[in-house]
């Protein structure tokens, strides 16, 4: 019996599919979830998620940080961002990074600590996106 993979973001249910295996970057490094996996809840970092669909097709996506729950062959990923490589626009990503860096540099005195952490996390995510995109294009 295949895994039932569901990826939910605040804006949409991005993926709902049967998968033979799911590979994702978890807190302790990359893990692969196969059917029959033990029940698991883990935090997930920015990075690549790839799964092999029931028809044997490889699908690769960029996912933002979030949580993965595996229970009785149901894999549920709750995250804030899901993007396919061709949905990314490097120039707007670069612009966003630049903007966030500028804010960090120029307004560091008025930004609260939390705001700074948030901006830094944003930059990290955008950088991860760029990295993922580069990797995909090389293939």
């Amino acid at each position: 019996m295949p895994l039932h993979l569901k990826i939910i973001t605040p804006l949409r249910t991005a993926v709902e599919a049967d998968a033979l295996s799911v590979v994702i970057t978890a807190s302790d490094g990359q893990i692969e979830v196969l059917p029959g996996h033990t029940s698991l809840i883990t935090s997930v970092g920015d990075g690549e998620l790839s799964y092999r669909s029931a028809q044997g097709k490889e699908v690769s996506l960029f996912v933002g940080g979030g949580f993965l729950q595996v229970e009785n062959d149901n894999a549920l990923l709750v995250t804030d961002t899901v993007l396919a490589a061709d949905e990314m626009d490097p120039s707007s990503i670069n612009a966003a990074i630049e903007q966030a860096r500028n804010r960090l540099r120029n307004e560091s005195s008025i930004l609260s600590r939390e705001e700074q952490t948030r901006l830094e996390a944003g930059i990290a995510q955008q950088l991860a996106m760029l990295e993922y995109r580069l990797k995909k294009r090389r293939h």
């Binding site: 569901k6 939910i8 249910t13 807190s27 029940s39 698991l40 229970e71 549920l76 709750v78």
Partner: protein, 288 residues
């Protein structure tokens, strides 16, 4: 007859009003579609979060996270999700009625939307904060609100945080509803998790990575802030639906009024013509 001109003037003014309400109806229905979409998708997200969280809370005893602790001392903070603009039917009035029945007199109020704040103040309730949130609300706008809630709860100023909002049922029906946001309880989580069709078998032996405490510390604030934004989204969807329905019925009323007035106008015109004819005939008769 002077009446004729009066009626004409009234028809014109009613027609102007109906054009405005018609335009507002269009705007509201466009906004409604978007707000509705956001609200419905957000429900899936929040119930997925609740689903994960509820599994965690079974593993970790309640004392673990401060946002889940029950407190003895402190007041109630009521977050009132109302609207910034009027002309949306009885939406705010219904919410107010529910508020007055269900919240304690000495509670503090935080208004999101500016319509109900002065009303609550006049009724002697303690309105501490008022915020406005734009239609495409962003995390940046919610941040200060969330911070107030979290700080107030953590330093024991408040022992309960309740959100009062209009639950979006469908375009015609919105229901005033109070939901307890803090402390987060397992029963609430179960209820929200069951909103979506995620299968749940109540397994408790989860492998938790990196550690249960780390996971809970990361996911709980995320859950609370998203639960708040979800309720605001619901409020927005309700607002736009209510406004659309109210404006639609206003436009229809105006149309009926115009029909009636036009009938009156034609009658008056007919009478006038008849009178003029009568005068002419009488005059000719008199000259013969």
């Amino acid at each position: 007859m002077a009446n004729l001109r009066d009626i004409k003037r009234r028809i014109k003014s009613v027609r102007n009003t109906s054009q405005i309400t018609k335009a507002m109806q269009m705007v509201a229905s466009a906004k409604m579609r978007r707000a509705q979409e956001l609200a419905l998708h957000g429900r899936a997200y929040i119930s997925a979060l609740a689903n994960v969280l509820q599994h965690l809370s079974a593993t970790i005893e309640q004392g673990g996270a401060s946002l889940m602790q029950k407190r003895e001392n402190g007041k109630t903070l009521v977050i009132v999700v109302n609207t910034d603009k009027g002309l949306c039917g009885a939406l705010n009035t219904n919410l107010l009625r529910e508020l007055l029945i269900q919240t304690p007199r000495d509670a503090d109020y935080l208004c999101i939307g500016s319509k109900l704040a002065p009303v609550l103040q006049r009724l002697g309730r303690n309105v501490r904060f008022t915020f406005s949130v734009s239609d495409n609300m962003s995390d940046v706008e919610l941040k200060p609100i969330y911070e107030i809630i979290r700080k107030g709860f953590e330093d024991n100023t408040y022992n309960r945080v309740i959100v009062a909002y209009q639950k979006f049922v469908n375009v015609m029906v919105q229901r005033p509803h109070l939901r307890e946001l803090l402390p987060v309880t397992t029963a609430d989580l179960l209820e929200i998790a069951s909103m979506d069709d995620i299968e749940d078998t109540h397994t408790n032996n989860f492998l938790l990575e990196p550690t249960p405490a780390d996971l809970l510390a990361a996911i709980l604030p995320l859950y609370v802030s998203n639960a708040l934004s979800q309720l605001i989204l619901e409020g927005k969807a309700s607002e736009q639906s209510a406004r659309m329905v109210a404006m639609k019925s206003a436009t229809e009323n105006a149309k009926n009024l115009i029909d009636e007035l036009t009938l009156d106008y034609n009658k008056a015109r007919q009478t006038q013509i008849t009178n003029e004819l009568l005068e002419i005939t009488t005059a000719t008769r008199a000259m013969e």
